[in-house]
Amino acid sequence: MAKLRLENIVRNFGKVKGVFDISVDIDDGEFFVMLGPSGCGKTTTLRIIAGLETPDSGKVFLDEKEITDFPPRERDMAMVFQNYALYPFLTVAGNIAFPLKKRKIPPSQIQEKVEEVAKVLGISNLLEMKPGQISGGQRQRVALGRAIVREPSLFLMDEPLSNLDAKLRTSMRGELKRIQKNYGTTTIYVTHDQVEAMTLADRVAVMNNGIFAQLDSPLEIYNMPKDTFVATFVGDPKMNMIPAELVNNGKGPNLKIGDTIVDLDLSGLSMPSGVQSMDVSLGIRPEDVKIVERGLNGKVVVTQNLGKSKIEHIQLSGSNAEVIRMTGVESDLDSGQSVSIMPNESKFYIFDSANEKRIWPLTG
């Protein structure tokens, strides 16, 4: 049970920027996910929280107490590593008991706790085995057990599911969430998998180039991405980005793609004074692409049937953009067919090409 605060954390590796000026308050019991591509600084941030790395500047607080320079062992945090880091020379029971050994807990009590945790995780039958003899999913459970058994104030997890196959990942995801809710322990979770972030998190920090590109609830991040990075990183298939232009028609801005003025309601949007046109991107999520009578013309290039849904690639005429549409299997579009598309109702985004920020919808 703990609150964690980061204040202006900076960590550089030589000339390579690791983390640049990160501040965040993480609440008691919160499941906080840092999501980003490799090299975005998420693991560095986690290691700074763990004490395995010291920031160049900035402070770390645990329950209002500064711990920036505390060694890892004094922080009362447990970490689950990507490769699990199970000690190969110890049995499963030995691995789970390892963090307790240092705490002068009587052996009978240690055994009791190990058995209890093993029961929760369903690995009671593996206790006498060595890590080399059990499967990836089981190792994952043992690593979790080693973290849980101490009842730490904070769980740190560094891509704990990325070494599992897809099916196992889905079931372990559910289990992780259940365990975290059971114990109510504040959890900081690092991943590059947006599905994990969306399903597990109370709040998600999308990281890019060492900063938080956006820090919000998963739904907010999906529905109101702040910039093109967040918009395209979150969502699968990713959001379509169509190069476009905003032109001032006297009364307000119009969206122009190629030579076509797109009939979209942009009321309330105003352009900077004196600017007649600006380059933007029109963002539409694949599930919000609609086939219409009159709209943006294009041609179906290829279709993929996924069983429960269908993905269609549509090449827009008069533009290089290829739009991906996700739809039900009942769609009978075939490759080569000419179509006309529009965003579904008001579900579209406009991003300023100059700074990649979202300018439409206005709120949020």
Partner: protein, 304 residues
């Protein structure tokens, strides 16, 4: 053999290319290949085991020279077998004393050498050491020099330090172990991800606690290999021991072997062989004890 020729002819004859082969052909080919593999392995095994067999046979022989060796002599015959060589070595020569001297010297050198190798190997792998690259190259280059060319400079050096005696040998012996073992351990530890030590630190241990509790136990295979290598050198060394040790009470096995097998005119080969068998036993036992680790030490097993 004919069958093999037939098969190869079929395989390489252009006309047979178009031929459709049936399953039994491949089954036959597989058993032929297996037969060839086994034959080669048996030959290699004989090649490896024969010297040991021959030494054991000779050690039990009543003949003392190699001159009487004939092909029939390669098989044991009851009339020429005796245990006298062993008996003499164990009861009339100070074999036990030599063994004790050797084990003490080898033990101290091995323990100190390997202990230093562990710390230096881990430091070279995990820590920032100024001039690390140069140190590593030096270590590698030094291992390429034969021991014998170092005997004379070592003698002069140790003479000046007043270390030309039994205990003085500990220094070159353990140094010899350090050179190779540090390199070996460094490479092994390189292959162990830091996550394991970091996990131990998260679990409540200090950096050095993590080293002893996690990294060293994980390095057991390479440490076992280092112990074995560090043991073998001093245990069998004659050249250096002979110039360092002058007092007969301090004789090691290698020197003892030399004196015990000296006949009046020639070398007494049956005593030499019996001595070799006895001297080989501790190495054999060490191998047995460490076998499980040594195999993975050689293969530099990596942890995932």
């Amino acid at each position: 053999m004919n069958e093999v020729n037939d098969q190869t002819e079929k395989m390489f004859h252009p006309a047979s290319k178009a031929k459709i082969r049936n399953n039994s052909h491949y089954r036959r080919m597989r058993s032929i290949k297996l037969g060839i593999t086994y034959s080669i392995l048996i030959i290699v095994a004989i090649y490896a085991v024969f010297p040991i067999y021959y030494v054991v046979l000779m050690s039990l022989s009543v003949y003392t020279t190699l001159a009487v060796v004939s092909v029939s002599g390669l098989l044991p015959s009851l009339g020429t077998l005796t245990s006298a060589n062993y008996y003499n070595l164990l009861y009339h020569e100070p074999f036990a004393g030599w063994l004790g001297m050797t084990l003490m010297l080898t033990g101290i050198s091995t323990l100190s050498g390997v202990a230093i190798s562990i710390t230096s190997g881990i430091a070279l792998s995990r820590m920032h050491v100024p001039g690390k690259r140069i140190i590593l190259y030096m270590l590698l280059i030094i291992t390429m020099f034969p021991m014998t060319i170092m005997i004379i400079p070592l003698y002069f050096m140790f003479h000046q330090l007043g270390l030309i005696h039994y205990y003085g040998l500990i220094v070159p012996y353990s140094a010899g172990a350090i050179i190779f073992s540090s390199w070996l351990i460094k490479n092994y530890v390189d292959a162990i991800p830091r996550d394991f030590e970091e996990a131990a630190q998260m679990d409540g241990y200090t950096a050095s606690g993590a080293l002893f509790k996690v990294l060293i136990p994980m390095s057991r295979p390479v440490i076992a290999l280092s112990v074995l290598l560090a043991f073998l050198g001093p245990y069998t060394d004659f050249a250096l021991a002979d110039i360092f040790i002058s007092h007969a009470n301090h004789y090691t096995l290698a020197i003892g072997l030399y004196y015990a097998s000296q006949g009046t005119i020639t070398i007494n080969y049956s005593v030499y062989a019996a001595f070799s068998v006895l001297m080989g036993l501790p190495i054999f036992l060490l191998f047995l004890a460490f076998q499980k680790y040594i195999v993975s030490g050689f293969s530099l097993a990596t942890y995932k």
